[in-house]
């Protein structure tokens, strides 16, 4: 199918420098086997899974090493064959301490008896497919790490009619989804078809920003075989944000506190769709993902297929190290990613990129008073009255901030990006949201 879909412009947004040229045209590389992986136990939103192996146990590649801790939870699998090492406390991606299990590789990389491939998924029961997605430990790989089987189980009263595959990749520097579409586009489309079958929807879109013409072309060619519509999208951060993407493709607006399913949509990252394909058609659990390793200090930036649990240090070594000492190491993209305090942090199921920034690229500044220039107001995709909100947070008037819709903030970072006074706006809103949520929990 070709792209005849009418695309709506969402409000606001910015177009930061892309930085994608560092890695976009470079072929996907397969990371070699490491001696040791450090697999964080909690890698998704929801209940943390419980470890079901102990130190010294022999494990096979793809063997389940942790059981889901509830409905909104997924199992965890061993990235390779070997033995279970210590359960260690590491500094996680967000900077908080978390538990991780070491897997000492035996070098055999031998698959265990796990999931059977389901090549004829078209004639397979939907519940069975959903169970497979759960068993494979699939979560949203675009960033939020929401368990995919939950996303594919909307309550019956929600009338889902559209599945959106998110290939926008609007974050600067990241090209993991871009490379995935070029190199494994077919897998993503089959995964999308499986998800569409589970959801019983006919309308499937793949949204791709226009700065990836090769991916649009490739996916359009491939999509002709499937009932899938590839739609080029305006290059505008945050085009890949769920609400903005749904609006661009369907003209529907998700209300505050609402979910895409409230407007009949399910949004899934292209990487997740490919993982669904791998789980169903190949019977492989989610133990690896494509991650961009990039930034000006990286000697040889590229996209890699990494096993989950690969420390950033190893990833950088595979890229030939660094040419200058980086001032910042970011897990994710430059707009929403987390700055890391050390490079032992492992790649998880939702690590789309490792971005290094040279000292001259890192701005350090003191926040100044707001001069009400209004640039943030013009650029905010959620249409928030940011100058007033930030002053409310500074005055610790969180009730007032809540009243003025601070909870609608998705922390995309645009306001702080455009602010000439360099105000720490995103921190302000994160703080307000945390305070408000803490208060709500108390009630």
């Amino acid at each position: 199918m070709n792209s005849t879909q009418k695309v709506v412009k969402f409000r606001g947004g910015v177009h930061p420098r892309e930085g994608k040229e560092l890695t976009a045209s470079r072929e996907l590389r397969i990371a070699p086997l490491l001696e040791k992986y450090i697999v964080p136990i909690r890698q998704s939103i929801g209940a943390p899974p419980t470890l079901c192996v102990k130190k010294g146990d022999a494990v096979k590649k793809g063997q389940r090493i942790a059981e889901p801790g509830g409905f909104v939870s997924v199992p965890l699998h061993s990235p390779t064959s070997g033995t279970v090492g210590d359960v260690v406390e590491i500094i996680g991606v967000t900077g908080a301490a978390e538990q991780a299990v070491e897997i000492i590789a035996d070098g055999q990389d031998e698959w265990g008896a796990g999931l059977d491939p389901i090549p004829n998924w078209e004639n397979t029961d939907r519940e069975l497919l959903k169970k497979r997605i759960l068993d494979a430990g699939i979560v949203g790989m675009g960033g939020a790490a929401f368990p995919t089987h939950v996303k594919l189980s909307p309550p019956p009263e929600k009338n889902i009619d559209t599945l959106i595959i998110n290939g926008a990749e609007c974050e600067p520097y990241l090209t993991a989804d871009h490379r995935l579409m070029l190199d494994r586009g077919e897998a993503a489309l089959i995964g999308a078809s499986i998800a569409a079958k589970i959801l019983k929807v006919d309308r499937v879109f793949v949204g791709i920003e226009e700065n990836k013409p090769d991916a649009i072309q490739k996916m359009t060619e491939l999509a002709s075989k499937y009932k899938i519509n590839v739609v080029p999208l305006r290059v505008r951060y945050p085009q890949g944000a769920e609400k903005q993407l749904i609006y661009a493709l369907t003209g529907r607006k998700v209300v505050e506190g609402g979910l895409p399913m409230d407007v009949g949509c399910v949004v899934m990252n292209v990487g997740t769709a490919a993982a669904v394909h791998n789980a169903v058609v190949l019977g492989e659990p989610l133990i690896e993902r494509i991650t961009t390793v990039t930034g000006s200090p990286v000697a040889d930036p590229a996209n890699f297929l990494f096993r989950i649990g690969t420390p950033i240090r190893k990833a950088l070594e595979l890229c030939g190290g660094v040419t200058t000492p980086p001032a910042k190491v970011i897990m994710g993209g430059p707009m929403m990613g987390f700055a890391q305090s050390n490079i032992e942090v492992p790649i998880t199921k939702n690590s789309s990129g490792v971005l290094l920034m040279a000292p001259e690229e890192v701005e350090q500044f003191m926040g100044n008073p707001c001069i009400r220039c209004g640039r943030c107001v013009a650029a905010c995709p959620m249409n928030l009255l940011i100058p007033q909100l930030s002053v409310m947070v500074e005055a610790e008037k969180f009730d007032m901030a809540e009243h003025n819709y601070v909870m609608d903030c998705m922390e995309c970072g645009i306001c702080a990006y455009v602010c000439p006074a360099k105000r720490p706006l995103v921190q302000h809103f994160r703080r307000a949201k945390a305070e408000i949520l803490a208060k709500r929990r108390k009630k």
């Binding site: 600067p172 070594e317 030939g320 990613g337 050390n342 209004g374 009255l385």
Partner: protein, 364 residues
């Protein structure tokens, strides 16, 4: 692996900067904005020097110097970090100077600067906290406190005669006066006060509304405050303001559009009350007010809709004062009055966030 071959080591913990996202920032800062505003004021500055000579330059130097000095002293006195380097005081000083007559005495500049920087800005908490445009407040205070020097001591423009302009205070430039048609004394009146004085005559504005006089108003060859006079210079600066994204076009368009419509209605229904719209747009502080003062970021609304309401309010108040008020010019009064309404306008014009509908029910 290649780590050993590389001379550059991978980062050790502690060497990395950890901060909240976003990690990219647009290349902008307050001082850059202020310097861009100063750059955009350059045509008006040059026009002022061209028409009024070195005395005009003196007024501008006085005002900028006083404003920056007062800003510095205040920060020292209050034991705050000096905000001199954000150049906002320089912008205030320059705009204030452009609102003063060309032969203003140093003390007039000093009083105006004090009101603008200390009373209108710093006592409210400094940059960003002031509800009123400092330069407009400075001008209004001088207009009320020193009505004589501010409204009667105009000097006729002497285009291009930079040094000779020192004589212009005593020796008139009759050619310029004759060209303008309505000016009769060595100390010329602004076209606006002529308009006011002649309002009783049958066709009082004929001399003010010739093609020649319009041309003079446009290029700035008339009596008036330094920056008020040359619409051309202001418009050149305005292109810069828009190109640097420093102002919202809605404000000047609303101000000037409202003024044009308002004066057109009054002029066509009663031609002896006031001259036509073009006269009003090209004389007095209409241009500098609409482009450089009403658009002050700190004291103008945040939303587009708000900017239109704000600008329209300024246009109407200005015209009312010009036509029926006690002063020949009302731009700075109008700006200050509308500044006071900005918080209300912002509140009124703020739309609900993306996704909110009446059906979904907002908190408000």
């Amino acid at each position: 692996m290649s780590e050993e071959n590389n001379t550059v080591k991978l980062p050790e913990p502690g060497s990395l900067i950890v901060s909240s996202s976003p990690h990219l920032h647009e290349n902008s800062s307050i001082s850059k904005i202020m310097l861009q505003v100063l750059l955009c004021l350059l045509p008006a500055v040059l026009a002022a020097v061209w028409f009024f000579g070195l005395p005009a330059l003196k007024v501008m130097v006085y005002c900028v110097a006083f404003c920056m000095l007062l800003e510095y002293l205040w920060c020292r006195l209050m034991k705050q970090k000096s905000t001199l380097c954000d150049f906002s005081a320089a912008v205030t000083g320059l705009i204030l100077a452009l609102n003063l007559p060309s032969h203003s005495q140093w003390w007039l500049c000093a009083v105006g600067s004090f009101v603008a920087i200390i009373i209108a800005k710093q006592v409210f908490g400094g940059l960003g906290q002031n509800p009123f445009n400092p330069a407009a407040v400075g001008r209004v205070a001088l207009l009320i406190g020193f009505t004589g020097p501010m409204t009667t001591q105009w000097v006729a423009p002497t285009p291009g005669a930079f040094v000779g302009a020192f004589d212009a205070v005593t020796t008139a430039t009759p050619l310029t006066l004759a060209k303008a048609g309505a000016f009769q004394a060595t100390t010329s009146a602004t076209p606006l006060s002529v308009a006011k004085n002649c309002a009783e005559n049958v066709d009082p504005f004929a001399a003010l509304q010739t093609a020649d006089s319009y041309w003079n108003y446009f290029i700035g060859n008339m009596g008036g405050s330094l920056g008020e006079t040359s619409a051309l210079a202001i418009l050149i600066g305005a292109i810069g303001l828009l190109a640097f994204r420093l102002i919202r076009w809605e404000i000047p368009v609303a101000v000037l559009g409202t003024m044009a419509i308002f004066t057109w209605i009054v002029h066509t229904t009663s031609p002896s009350t006031t001259p036509g719209p073009l006269f009003h747009l090209l004389t007095g502080g209409a241009m500098i007010g609409a482009f450089f003062m009403a658009t002050d970021m700190v004291t103008s609304p945040l939303t587009r809709r708000g900017c239109v309401i704000f600008g329209a309010g300024i246009g109407i108040i200005t015209c009312v004062i010009r036509i029926w008020g006690g002063f020949p010019e009302g731009m700075s009064f109008a700006i200050v009055i509308m500044n006071a309404l900005v918080p209300l306008i912002d509140r009124f014009c703020f739309k609900r966030p993306f996704g909110w509908t009446h059906a979904s029910g907002g908190a408000k």
